[in-house]
């Protein structure tokens, strides 16, 4: 009972081949060690050449008109490779804009994303940002180049914006309201942050009279986008967890102590079995959430499934990565080994788009408390 068709398996194989070739351990390491947050040449191939950024964007906007199912395949592969990439943020922005797609602002950014020219990020925590209306260029108080009528004036800070350092545009997602900001525009300062996860970049983005273009959204837009964010991230987490188990299984088969492969010792074997159990139970939940998100399920059902997936996949990924380090012994604790890179990503992912306790509380409400 898989949710994927043969075409999906082909898509998976294509992406896996590309990432195995262009984003192997050494390549990922080079990206991290350099100052780039991602490999720009690879991004160009993924987005422009293979059309992966526009998978879920309508054909009328330059995309290929698929949906969450196809994104889930790509995100699982990105998770496997532990790839530093603005893909998650960009396609999430694409889904958010598609849900609201009604005007020129959304149309333009969607085309930009689909063609691979624009990288987008989303921000779901807009409480600290003040918005006011733009004024006529002739009016008193208008700053040259600043927001005009039809635009909004932004002041305040968007904190911890995922992929903020690399994004061209930021989609602000508020309850019942949304807007798009050009991060290269006047009055915008992007401050890149240091962080636990070396494969992702974050920024505090400060607005000082910056211009934003409002977009028209439905009342439940924010909840829906938040649920989609959790589902997409869960896909990355599953991909990462799957790869972590493969690497660990391989190591336990090759590493000899006491004259036998360590994987033949029951303590190690059972640890790996437990990793498999965590992975597959989380995967069953993630697949269900993907299916619901792809078929446009009612919001309440989608939110419950998304929260369940976010909790299950966060816990599984953290558990698997910490087990991975232990199964590897000393080598697993070295800077050179990739184990800590997955461990870091697992820790950070568990906190993104709502942590385990926030989602658990939502689940408790869904169950009836």
């Amino acid at each position: 009972m898989t949710i994927y068709t043969e075409e999906h398996q082909e898509l998976r194989a294509t992406v896996r081949r590309l990432l195995e070739k262009s984003a192997d351990r050494a390549a990922v390491r080079a990206t991290i060690d350099g100052l780039d947050a991602y490999d720009q040449a690879l991004w160009a191939r993924m987005s422009a050449e293979l059309g992966l950024a526009g998978l879920a964007i309508a054909e009328s906007r330059g995309g290929s008109g698929f949906g969450v199912l196809e994104l889930s395949v790509v995100l699982e592969e990105i998770g496997r490779a532990n790839l530093p990439s603005p893909y998650l943020s960009t396609v999430l922005a694409g889904l958010a804009l598609t849900l609201a797609d009604a005007d020129d602002t959304t149309a333009r950014l969607l085309s930009g994303i689909a063609s691979g020219e624009r990288i987008a990020a989303v921000h779901l925590d807009t409480g600290d940002i003040r918005k006011s209306r733009g004024v006529e260029p002739s009016a008193a108080g208008h700053v040259p180049g600043g927001p005009i009528v039809g635009e909004q004036v932004l002041n305040g800070t968007a904190r911890h914006v995922l992929d903020g350092p690399t994004a061209d545009e930021l989609v602000l997602i508020g309850p019942g309201e949304g807007s798009v900001v050009d991060l290269g525009g006047d009055g915008v300062t992007v401050r890149r942050l240091a962080g636990i996860d070396l494969t992702r970049s974050h920024a505090h983005v400060t607005f000082d009279g910056a211009a934003a273009r409002p977009i028209t959204v439905g009342g439940d837009w924010k909840d829906r986008v938040a649920a989609l964010a959790a589902v997409l991230l869960a896909c990355e987490q599953i991909g990462g967890a799957e790869r972590v188990l493969e690497i660990s299984t391989c190591y336990a088969t090759d590493r000899i102590q006491f004259g036998r492969p360590i994987g033949s010792f029951q303590a190690v074997k059972h640890t790996l079995a437990d990793m498999l159990i965590e992975l597959e139970l989380a995967r069953a939940i993630q697949q269900d959430a993907v299916r619901l998100a792809a078929t446009g399920a009612p919001l309440a059902e989608l939110m419950a499934a998304a929260s369940t997936a976010k909790v299950a996949c966060s816990q599984a990924f953290v558990q698997l990565t910490s087990d991975m380090i232990r199964v590897h012994g000393g080598i697993g604790f070295t800077w050179e080994h990739e184990a800590h890179l997955y461990f870091r990503r697992a820790r950070a992912s568990a906190r993104l788009f709502g942590d385990v306790s926030a989602h658990s509380d939502r689940i408790a409400a869904h169950v009836g408390l």
Partner: protein, 415 residues
């Protein structure tokens, strides 16, 4: 069950009068609306076991007569020959209702798939339909005092005698042997070869002369499992399942189906998540953040187990062997049961420790907690499942097995 037997294609000589999925779903819904009773009445089985088994037989008979039993099984043996999607529709309709998994899972979920895959045509014609009708209940005669996890070291002996066989030895932990008509029995037919090779499977008629069944009392206080003694029990040749010496293959198939069945949770915890949620509300604990967190965690575990079980069930309904992968589901079901039972026990507080015997509710929470550990033992312990996953799914090297190549009669065995 081989794929060709169970596919949705019409079979020769049989008029194709199979219902559409929609009609089938409506029939199932209507049947449960009229005859179903709520699940979670599992306590009834400890209060009056005979009445419970009688109710179970009546339930299964009703299902059969309504055209709702043996959904994916071949039509010539009494099944409906329908596809996996019909099985799913049935499960949907059955959700929340008592389905007497404790009585029927061993027969329908474990013995039948083995008979359908390895039995003779005559055996299939004789046994499958009465099983589907609830007329005959089956048990699993595998474990022995000296052979549990190491099932292949079993010592009950079957000796060829004229046309048939004579069996002597002892089985133990045999669930519902006292209510069963038949059982699938593993016995040793050759002690001169290594342990896996000398085993043979038989159909045992539980009313045969020489069989003595002694109920054992379980930790919960119930009497579900039994000791079964075989004293020179005659078994006719036609009751041989597969070839002599091929019993291990049959046993493995049955154990795989057992894990898949246990993954589905038909005989899992008597305490459900819904019951615990209601308990939390009744006790006014719904705003306690620790309780909310624990309930959410239990829900996540339950969803994982349920969704994984759906995947395995679809595989089985489609005619595939469930494989070693199903062990994940069995471990998950045990884990959920422990988690849910412990939460209920904590929320019920002192009422789950000591209760007024006239209040039926009190004992349920204690019962759930006492029952939960059995799910980590029956059907192969948690350790054994983990080893299976490590070796057969992940492909890790086996542990050294010093006894693997030793002839059975030279083995060191438990006293």
């Amino acid at each position: 069950m081989s794929g060709s037997d169970t596919g949705g294609r019409p079979e020769e000589g049989i008029v194709d009068d199979r219902p559409s999925l929609a009609v089938f779903g409506r029939t199932a819904d209507a049947w449960f609306a009229e005859h179903g009773r709520p699940a979670n009445m599992s306590l009834s089985r400890s209060l009056d076991p005979a009445a419970h088994v009688a109710a179970a037989r009546k339930y299964q008979r009703g299902l059969h007569d309504a055209g709702l039993a043996g959904i994916t099984w071949p039509r010539q043996y009494g099944g409906l020959g329908l596809g996996a999607e019909f099985q799913r529709a049935f499960e949907q309709a059955a959700r929340g209702h008592e389905t007497f998994g404790d009585v029927f899972t061993i027969g329908l979920g474990m013995c039948a798939p083995v008979l359908l895959a390895l039995g003779t045509d005559q055996q299939k014609r004789r046994y499958i339909r009465p099983m589907l009708r609830g007329d005959e209940v089956w048990c699993q005669l595998f474990s022995e005092p000296g052979a549990g996890s190491d099932l292949a070291s079993l010592a009950t002996a079957a000796v060829a005698d004229g046309d048939g066989w004579v069996v002597s030895g002892q089985k133990v932990w045999t669930t519902y042997a006292q209510h069963s008509d038949f059982g699938l029995l593993l016995a040793r037919t050759d002690a001169s070869v290594r342990k896996h090779l000398g085993i043979t499977m038989f159909v045992a008629d539980m009313r045969s002369a020489g069989i003595t069944i002694r109920p054992l009392r379980q930790a919960t206080g119930d009497q579900e499992f039994n000791e079964v003694f075989f004293d020179d029990v005659a078994i006719p040749a036609q009751n041989l399942v597969g070839a002599p010496g091929n019993g291990w293959r049959a046993a493995t198939l049955m154990l795989m189906n057992e894990r898949a069945a246990l993954a589905g949770g038909p005989i899992s915890s008597p305490v459900t998540l819904a019951a615990v949620t209601e308990l939390i509300r009744n006790r006014g604990r719904q705003d306690d953040p620790v309780i909310r967190m624990r309930l959410a965690q239990a829900y996540v575990a339950q969803r994982g187990a349920d969704l994984f079980a759906e995947r395995i069930a679809a595989q089985v309904a489609a005619g595939d062997e469930p494989g070693s992968f199903a062990s994940i589901g069995k471990l998950a079901a045990g884990r959920v049961a422990r988690q849910v039972a412990a939460l209920a026990l904590d929320v019920a507080g002192l009422d789950a420790i000591a209760w007024d015997p006239t209040e039926p509710d009190g004992s349920l929470w204690a019962y759930g907690e006492l029952y939960a550990p059995s799910l980590s033992i029956a059907g192969g312990t948690d350790n054994i499942q983990r080893t299976i996953l490590g070796e057969r799914v992940l492909g890790l090297p086996r542990e050294p097995q010093p006894d693997r190549d030793t002839p059975f009669r030279e083995l060191r065995r438990s006293p």
